[in-house]
């Protein structure tokens, strides 16, 4: 064998060993292919079996080898096989999802953060009386049964523009909450105006306190609206409803539509010293 040929053969063998044991670069692979053309008796997998057997041999001789296939990987492999067979079910998918979630710490942390955020929003939502419109009839009943200082007045129309209006208001100073129930108020267009609740607390405030805004989107049956005072109420003595600009106002100049009770009790007016 000529010297040049010998050098080429050694280079080919080195590349074949690399091919069997580590990654080849694009350049090395091109060089390997051209050398295989020179020595057609060699194949790209020339050392594959030798290295594979040697790998197993070293593995068996390694007394300190204690690598064990983790159980969750075993389950993932079985799941992958089921997928390949088209036999995976929704239950398998959920199982796989949960396993992935709990065996990848970053996923578990992300889920924890999401749950915490979700829970926080839920708590805020729950506490946010204005926006919490779920289970209102039940909540109203519960308050009516449990509040010690419950006051309840029927609504009275203060304008001839309205048709017959029915309903009432319940309120508890201790709980700082209440509900109005109304049937007969005309539907409003929220883009143009909204109904606003006012709470009369003359002992603490000279002006009515904003009790929140609401919309009437149906007339076929009574609606229940939670009262959401913007300021702490010491002793509510009366309530009113006006129609205001969208979002409501701080101080109203609009006519009263409904009041409860019909007239504000006389003993709640400030005493005028003579």
């Amino acid at each position: 064998m000529h010297n040049k040929e010998q050098i080429q053969l050694e280079k080919l063998l080195d590349l074949l060993i690399l091919e069997a044991s580590e990654k080849l670069s694009q350049q090395q692979r091109e060089e390997l292919n051209s050398l295989l053309d020179v020595f057609p008796e060699y194949t790209p997998d020339y050392f594959h079996k030798t290295t594979a057997l040697a790998q197993v041999g070293f593995y068996l001789e390694d007394d300190f080898n204690n690598e064990t296939l983790p159980l969750h990987i075993r389950k993932k492999i079985l799941y992958r096989q089921k997928q390949e067979l088209g036999q995976s079910t929704v239950f398998d998918y959920l199982n796989h999802f949960m396993r992935t979630l709990f065996y990848k710490p970053q996923y578990a942390w992300a889920l924890t953060v999401l749950l915490t955020i979700g829970l926080s929003f839920s708590m805020i939502e729950f506490k946010n009386y204005e926006s919490n419109y779920r289970y209102l009839p039940l909540k109203k009943i519960v308050m009516e049964r449990t509040a010690d200082d419950l006051i309840q007045y029927p609504w009275h129309s203060r304008t001839n523009d309205l048709g017959p209006v029915n309903g009432d208001i319940v309120w508890s100073d201790q709980e700082q909450k209440g509900f109005i129930q109304i049937a007969g108020l005309p539907m409003n267009n929220p883009n143009e105006n909204q109904y606003q609740i006012w709470i009369i607390d003359p002992l603490k405030y000279g002006k009515p306190v904003d009790g929140g805004i609401f919309d009437v989107d149906r007339t076929d049956k009574a609606i229940i609206i939670p009262i959401n005072p913007k300021l702490p109420i010491s002793k509510a003595v009366g309530f009113a409803i006006t129609l205001e600009q969208p979002g409501g106002v701080v101080v109203s100049s609009e006519p009263l539509l409904l009041t409860a009770p019909k007239e504000r009790p006389q003993n709640t007016y400030p005493k005028v010293s003579i």
Partner: protein
């Protein structure tokens, strides 16, 4: 000390498990026949081996996890091509595993993979191999035993531990050329021993 004894016991169990394959009813044959529990048995028997090889090749745990799944699916798909007269089960599995891990190594290293396991589909892998299952493992153990201790260590670092030649040169503080020459010389020697055994088996089979 007890740790070492424990590891040796486990290694022995592993060895016996791998040596216990019955040629006529190998797990791969059972998979090819469509036996329900065969794939489970495959993972049971070769899971630790494949996982161990993967851990040597790939550094990131998530890469090993993904690659090991791919290896088992590849073995499962190639099971019907397994021929015990041409290669032992453990050889077949180890070859597919190594090829897959090297492919994966290329993929995660952003090297273009020109010849993946999918292309040769397992068909060309064993065309030269007609080693007998029961003698394969003993053969490789004996063959490695004929090498000098230093050469065994070099091969172990390269083939088993997955170090590149340049990494070995740095690790052992010897020239890269020396590493290449010694690994080349010893792999050729091992291959020669296998080829002699292969020819003997051919004669044995022809005389049978």
């Amino acid at each position: 000390m007890s740790q070492s004894v424990g590891n040796k016991t486990e290694a022995r169990k592993e060895y016996l498990l791998l040596m216990s394959t019955d040629n006529t009813d190998s797990i791969l044959k059972l998979i090819a026949k469509g036996e329900d529990r065969a794939f489970n048995l495959l993972i049971e028997k070769y899971g630790n081996l494949v996982w161990s090889i993967g851990r040597k090749f790939l550094y990131k745990e998530s890469d090993v996890e993904d690659a090991v799944q791919e290896v088992f699916i590849a073995i499962w798909k190639a099971a019907e091509k397994f021929d015990h007269t041409k290669a032992s089960e453990v050889t077949f599995i180890s070859m597919i595993a190594r090829r897959r891990f090297i492919d994966y190594l290329r993929k995660v290293s952003k090297y273009r993979n020109l010849q993946s396991i999918d292309e040769d589909n397992g068909q060309e892998l064993f065309k030269e191999s007609i080693l007998n299952e029961s003698t394969d493992l003993q053969l490789i153990k004996d063959a490695i035993g004929t090498l000098e201790i230093e050469d065994q260590e070099l091969l172990k670092l390269s083939i088993y531990q997955g170090y590149s030649h340049s990494e070995i040169a740095k690790l052992l503080n010897i020239p890269l050329g020396t590493v290449k020459t010694r690994i080349r010389r010893n792999l050729i020697k091992l291959k020669g021993l296998f080829d002699i055994k292969q020819q003997a088996t051919v004669i044995e089979l022809n005389n049978a």
